[in-house]
Symmetry: C5
Subunit: 305 residues, 5 copies
């Protein structure tokens, strides 16, 4: 923690609370391993059953099982879900994902709009009455949507209010909509989205991995985004899985070639069985937080991955 | 009641009130028999006159007659209607249905939008001044509607506020709209809707019975939804009536094969005469709350059903 | 007054004020003769000049002249108009019509939307500072409009707030919009609208007279609406005038055959000269409030009608 | 002042302030000469440069020069402009025009929508802190616009709040939009708009001069509007200028034939040089306030008009 | 400072704070050199990488480096970005740009809408808790957009609230939208936008440089805008760069021929390396604030420009 991570404009006593939440989320290493668990809304049940998805994943408690045993920096999901499991998983550092939408209406039909679910007063009440370790809040913006303005306003007000409560603010920034079309993973546009996250005042901005002209992920393309985000730290999704080893290699590249400050991983974690998921998280943690190499991380996966 | 039914994030003194309301609504058996009576808005007068509908049903007081004599866990209807009959039916456990729309505008014309009718401050005032046994509130969401965002925000804020008042929150979750088309009763989509209810923090989520490829109800298809909802309990509508016996068999299957925690029944109850409706409710109660078999339940119907 | 007319959920001291307003508006007979005077917005100047319209009607004060001399239960018009004449007509029981729209935009162009003009805080201030006998508030809903949701929310919040102030709430319920088309005066749809008024918690719901298959008014068709509305009392417009005698006969039929609890009359009253209008109101009052027959009422019209 | 000019529903101490503002604006003669200066938004710079427009008019201070030297009842313009010149023109009676829109988007593209710029709390603060003689507020409504509902709600709330602050409320009522088409200056429609202003509770309603079947202004056509507005007083624009003499004759006709209570004049005043504009205002004042004849007024114009 | 720069309608103690902020921003010379740094949202990363853009510009801190070393009157950017760098750049006079949108959705697809990001209460908290020298706030309006009304309301409320906090208000006024089409840089339309800024009560209005019939910038065309804005001072962008010398010549012309009160410069500054950017700002400062000639200013650029 270098003192640049706490935004300015917060009362002194709240700054201490913010710093504590920051240390907790980044595990004292200035790196964020965010376990993303908002897909039960974003993708409804598509990510949780079928194909190679572990049967454990059908039950939402699977997410809490993993988050409580694995060394994640924070587990991001909706407040409602936390309100139903938090009493049994008090040690998880939570990040409340404040807006979510389903994927039913496609951009071809109507540009995406995702609005805030709880007010910040409700968030504050929840933190107070639950006694949980809530380290922050999250919000998805869709730059390029015709409804962009509504989301930018909600996001900026939410970030400011979160900081006043001592909470971190993480922005999921996904260019999308008819104006964006197929450029959703264009490196330059993603850099723009990352810079936008910085202008909103986010602590972390989550972006999708940019693709090169061949449609392949290329870690060095993240450099533009990391630069554009400045002191707002960039975290990146891992992309579609090929194998655990490939995933970890890509993650290592994103951090060491791309310059990202961590990762946000969802399906790649929770679609595994409890045991495998925890091991996979340990491997991710090794790379992200402990700065280990890919080989060391792979060893943590155990025999079957 | 297993301690998992009270959400976290509520002041201690309110938790007791919530637990009391939960026990009342679930009749100390962790099962919910919700009598749905919001159709006077949702379907205007279509459900209340004509065909085989008992003439009793033409008068809204019929709903209160039934609810006061039958062993329902709660009777769900609009606050306005309760405000006109509650003084004479003080022992009914009420669930205030907070949003409703008519069925006049079809999805082909415009995607569904149903907004909250009373503020939570008004609900709190109503509970205080009426002295009625209001156990909870209800809200319908339409995942897949172009207006989904407005309803998800209202629903999530309402659920949080309800819990802060010690009230249960029940979500009616119906995928609908041009993006959903004919998939309204697709099992996977319904599971998604049930999981969405969990993420909103609902205590119960009411879904329509899923249909198999042949367009027939199949109780085991509910399993995905029940799993996806986790600690949020799933209740299911009975579908169109064929006979009382068939209805009860289906209900039994939904609970014992599908794993649901109760039912929400409306037309199947109130379209009968007062006497028949009460007997029918007793039969439903036998299955849902007393965990009886279908035969035992059928016996309670008396000679004519 | 039978005790069913005061809704539940109101503080005790306010209940007394409500009961007093109810008695005043229903003239101690549980029947409502509402003089409707909101047409200067709803129809602009169309109803007030030309053809057989008395020249008196060109001046809005004509409405106050009539309402102050005729035995109406309440005179419904916009707050703004009351604010300019009320000081000279302090004995009229007023009902503030809280929303209004012009008829310029037809449903073919855009579905109807009519929004609340004053907040309930402003209504409360107006009642307090004016010292007028304001007995209630009114609001028009258009079930079937694409903007139905906005109006149902405003109406339900307004009704609750009105009751908390001890004021009656009257709903004008007119199915309208592209989804309704030519069915605006369909008896079944009107019954649906009346039941919707009950679910909103209205004290009275004003509907248009239903037409039979031949497009003619038929009083017995009102029966479905009266039943559907339950304890919310139905009042009906008189329809287009043929002669005063016909009007009174129809009104008598609506009450004694249709079961309505009064009438809402506008143009049929104010398009007459002051003297004729007052006599006509006396005849209406005879039927509605004093439960007289048509012959007795006709006698009150004097020689020229 | 006849006691009918102060609306009912205002606390006693505020009534005195209102009466004082009324006397100031109507110059103790119950007639209003409103100098309209909101065109810098409504018409952007079109009215202020080019053609026969005096070069003085390029500078907004020209409006204040005129208003401070000419015998106007009030000068209506946006709060922002007053905030920049008011310190040097403390004796002008101001009327704050609270909504304005540009003319860039035509009705053919989209129906007009003009929303309130400052809250009434901001208006109250401005009055208190500026120490200026603010006599009232103004608002434009467009009956017939698809966005009519938003403007009627804002206007009615604004009028009520203005009266609670002791301020006059003037409504600019212009039928407009696709539903109105070419009927903008139809006498019957303008009468409807005037009556609508009365229902909103306005003190004055400004209408455009109605045209006869030949498309010419005809003062007697105003009679319907003046009658329809009742105690809300009608003021009228002068229409396009032909010559100063013609303008004054028309104004005299509007008052003495049409029955209006004053005028709202903008371009006809400020497009002249400072000296001419002041003289022209003196001539208008002679007719409107001093009830002089046209000949007397024309003499005040001096040699060159 | 001539006393005309502080708007009326502000409490006395706040007027002192406003005057101090005005002196700071205008460097005691009544001229404003505003360094515009809101492009990371408005143009995403397009302005910050590629082509002749200095590599320094990839990092948002570059903006703060320049603003802290160069003699700018204020540095305008989003609150979020200030919150992350302000602790290290405490001496910069900041202007918080309160609304921003991306350029992804083009006017051909949908007219522009840019909404306020933080509430004025949040701005006040930020100023208090950050201890930074925040001199004002900024907001972009798009006259001619179909969403103009929303932005004019936000802008006017923001300006009033800013003045109540002692902050300057700068309006970026860009005619845009389908109704404007290719006339975005029409001199007469820009003059209209400048006058609109005055009616909103802005202290400064930033406009684009008008083009003549040949599509070329011509400083004297600014005269209409400067006149129309009255006491609201006009600042102008420099347009596309050809060379630093040309830029400075144009700026000099804008001030001395066009009559503007300063400039708003963004890309022309920050696309240079740190050293060049600071020198370029010194040259701008020489012309804008110190009223030097172009030759003197050019000398400050050093050898390579």
């Amino acid at each position: 923690m270098n003192g640049h991570n706490t935004p300015i404009g917060i009362p002194a006593e709240i700054r201490r609370r913010f710093a504590e939440n920051y240390r907790l989320a980044t595990q004292d290493k200035d790196r964020l391993f965010l376990m993303a668990g908002d897909q039960k809304v974003e993708h409804l049940n598509d990510d949780f059953v079928g194909g190679r998805v572990a049967t454990d994943d059908a039950d939402p408690e699977h997410l809490f099982h993993i988050a409580s045993e694995a060394p994640v920096g924070c587990f991001a999901t909706q407040l409602g879900l936390i309100s139903r499991y938090g009493m049994d998983y008090k040690d998880i550092p939570y990040l409340i994902k404040l807006n979510s939408k389903t994927h039913l209406v496609r951009s071809e039909q109507r540009d995406p709009l995702s609005l805030q679910w709880q007010t910040m007063e409700q968030v504050a009440d929840f933190v107070r009455y639950s006694g949980l370790r809530v380290v922050g809040v999250g919000y998805t913006i869709y730059p390029g949507s015709e409804y962009e303005a509504a989301m930018l306003t909600e996001a900026s007000q939410m970030i400011f209010a979160a900081h006043q409560l001592g909470l971190l603010a993480v922005i999921w920034a996904y260019p999308r909509g008819k104006a964006v079309g197929t450029r959703e993973q264009d490196a330059h546009l993603i850099a723009g989205a990352a810079g936008l996250g910085a202008c909103l005042g986010a602590d972390f901005v989550k972006v999708n991995p940019p693709l090169n002209a061949q449609g392949e992920m290329e870690a060095k393309l993240l450099g533009e985004a990391v630069a554009a985000a400045g002191r707002t730290q960039v975290i990146c999704a891992g992309g579609k899985e090929t194998s655990a080893e490939d995933f970890l290699q890509r993650l290592h590249d994103q951090i060491h070639t791309g310059g990202t400050a961590g990762c946000a991983t969802g399906r790649n974690v929770h679609q595994r069985s409890q045991q495998e998921a925890v091991r996979f998280c340990q491997a991710i943690h090794a790379i992200v937080v402990d700065n280990k190499g890919v080989d060391d991380a792979v060893k943590m996966l155990g025999s079957k991955t």
